[in-house]
Point group: C3
Chain length 262, copies 3
């Protein structure tokens, strides 16, 4: 038994018993495990948001932590369940691509195994809840020090996420809204460095029919109520209203097109 | 001091300071305690949902964990507060029946004590928050190894939950909706084995005025948008829309009648 | 490395990756740290609610726990970030006053330091997320036993919160609604002892145009559906509907005026 760290990221929603079930299963195998909630409020089955969530948060964790991700629209199909290791990051995830952007950023080619050794699963395995029956028990065993090689054979191919594309040109960047946060900040997939490469030129950001012409380093640089563009905490272009909600002002939801012209 | 595991299940809601208060009180008594959130989003004072939540999740936990449940519409009345032990499961709960279904499943007769020894409470005891003043401090003391016998005398009777009934006949099952999850899946109280006993016969499920004629093993067995019945992750009959919301489709809320005819 | 306790209180909202980021940064510095969520659902940038939340919950924690508060409308301005110590309570907070009411209650003059030693920060420091880049890493170092003196110089002045005022007269108390909880209970800033000083006299509570004439010790003392006033779990005057929602009945939101006349 070790007090290894595990994290949970799911789309189970508030008030659901399923997150508690995952904790119970893990602790049933390793009562010393330290289980940390990342979130249980991924929008239902939203793989793109899961990818955004994971690439925003996982790089900050120390190596060795096992991250369990249960966003699994394919449960009950023959989609695989995977153990992924890349540059110190360890993941247990359905083979639906939600994890691939996290690993791509690192650059290290991941070591990926298909979970196949049923002795580390909970039986009978249901057709509807592999988080409980496969991922959580495997996480419990890993936290006890089980070697990942025991879980199943390495695989060389996996599903990649179909992500919103970003076009980067010398005078124009095109991307999409990937998240609207609690403050109404509208977060895009246009990387901050591409945006900053336009520094010193007049820049116009178009989003959901609205135009943003003010570009700041931080919210506090403009008057309350101003609509501004900045490089946000996720490292990408963000549109915000100082002390207000940009999502309300520009009526831009996830998937809306964003254009930057210099 | 030991690093004993405690869990919290409450109806305090998001953003409430009361869950933090419980943690503070427990850690004030045993700073080594490991306090785990199960949920703080039980619908306010909903004992039936609490029962469903507890029977879905607690059986997965290892024996010895102390589960603190603060859903307490009777606070301030003379309802008792209880320590319950049954088959390795340990609970601190108001005497309102929300815990009885969990224990009934196990079959072991529970050992129940009325919390009476005020030396393990926080003083002055308020009239509105016994979770803070009685349950949490008692949980802290238990986590330090206090013998449960010290808490109060055994009792032989307690409140049982008035639960929605299920009728099981040779050709007909009748029950109710007990929960609608984050995905819009409609979960009933009709046990999966009763439903599966109809296997091989044409089955019709009626719920909220809608008819479900497709019966699957898992969501992925039907086309997106199909309305299906299956045995869900809680082990009971569930009505779902593949990649959609059954709750929206059939407009069935908690308490709606469900009928299965074979 | 020690298994020191840290708590997190933020306004990041459900589903946000930022709370996970804070945990990753802290654990990256001290993998043994025990990180506890108090809430991530403070209403966005609501300093008054933050103050109410902190003064309701922090006094219950044992001394020595480091409480990290990331409600930071001034991020990116030159507002300071502070380490506060008062009567065993330790806080890492932006200098926006949200913490001052907690410390005032205790009466001990706080020891306050401005975070200035950038060697304990994460670099590059962003202009939008000092929770991640300054407060979380400093919390990680403190949990490893770093002496607070190393963080920066003591300061003698800080921002105080502009709080809703309470007028206490011999026959009249005037205050405001500070919180509406999950149950619809309307919680005011009128201290319970001031209210109880009117005991034995006929008392009339006016709130949001409605009149409350029934005064109880606890919810259960009145019939379901009654509108009552009581001293609630936060120690202040609260207006409630027994087994119902006072917020709906009296239509009183945060900031509404409350008057008690005896």
């Amino acid at each position: 038994m070790t007090d290894a760290l595990l994290t949970l990221t799911t789309d189970f929603g508030p008030g659901s018993a399923y997150a508690a079930v995952l904790k119970g299963v893990i602790l049933g195998i390793n009562p010393q495990a330290r289980v940390l909630d990342l979130t249980h409020q991924i929008p239902p089955q939203d793989l793109r948001y899961t990818a955004f969530f994971l690439e925003t948060s996982l790089p900050y964790f120390p190596p060795g932590v096992v991250h369990v991700v249960v966003v699994d629209p394919g449960v009950g199909t023959d989609r695989a369940l995977l153990y992924v290791e890349a540059g110190g990051l360890r993941l247990l995830v359905p083979d639906n691509g939600c994890w691939t952007p996290v690993v791509e950023v690192g650059g290290t080619p991941p070591c990926v195994r298909r979970l196949q050794e049923a002795r580390y699963w909970r039986h009978p395995v249901s057709a509807t809840f592999h988080g409980r029956d496969i991922l959580a028990p495997v996480a419990g065993w890993l936290s006890r020090g089980l070697d990942a090689e025991a879980l199943g054979p390495p695989v060389a191919s996996w599903t990649r996420l179909d992500r919103p594309t970003v076009d980067v040109g010398p005078h124009r960047l095109t991307g999409e809204v990937v998240f609207v946060d609690h403050f109404g900040n509208v977060i895009t997939n246009i990387r901050g460095d591409a945006f900053l490469a336009f520094a010193g030129r007049p820049v116009r950001v178009t989003i959901g029919g609205a135009e943003v012409s003010k570009w700041v380093r931080t919210y506090a640089e403009a008057e309350p109520g101003s609509l501004v563009a900045l490089v946000g905490s996720a490292g990408t272009l963000e549109v915000a209203v100082v002390q207000g909600s940009a999502a309300e002002r520009v009526r831009a939801a996830v998937g809306a097109r964003v254009e930057v012209v210099a």
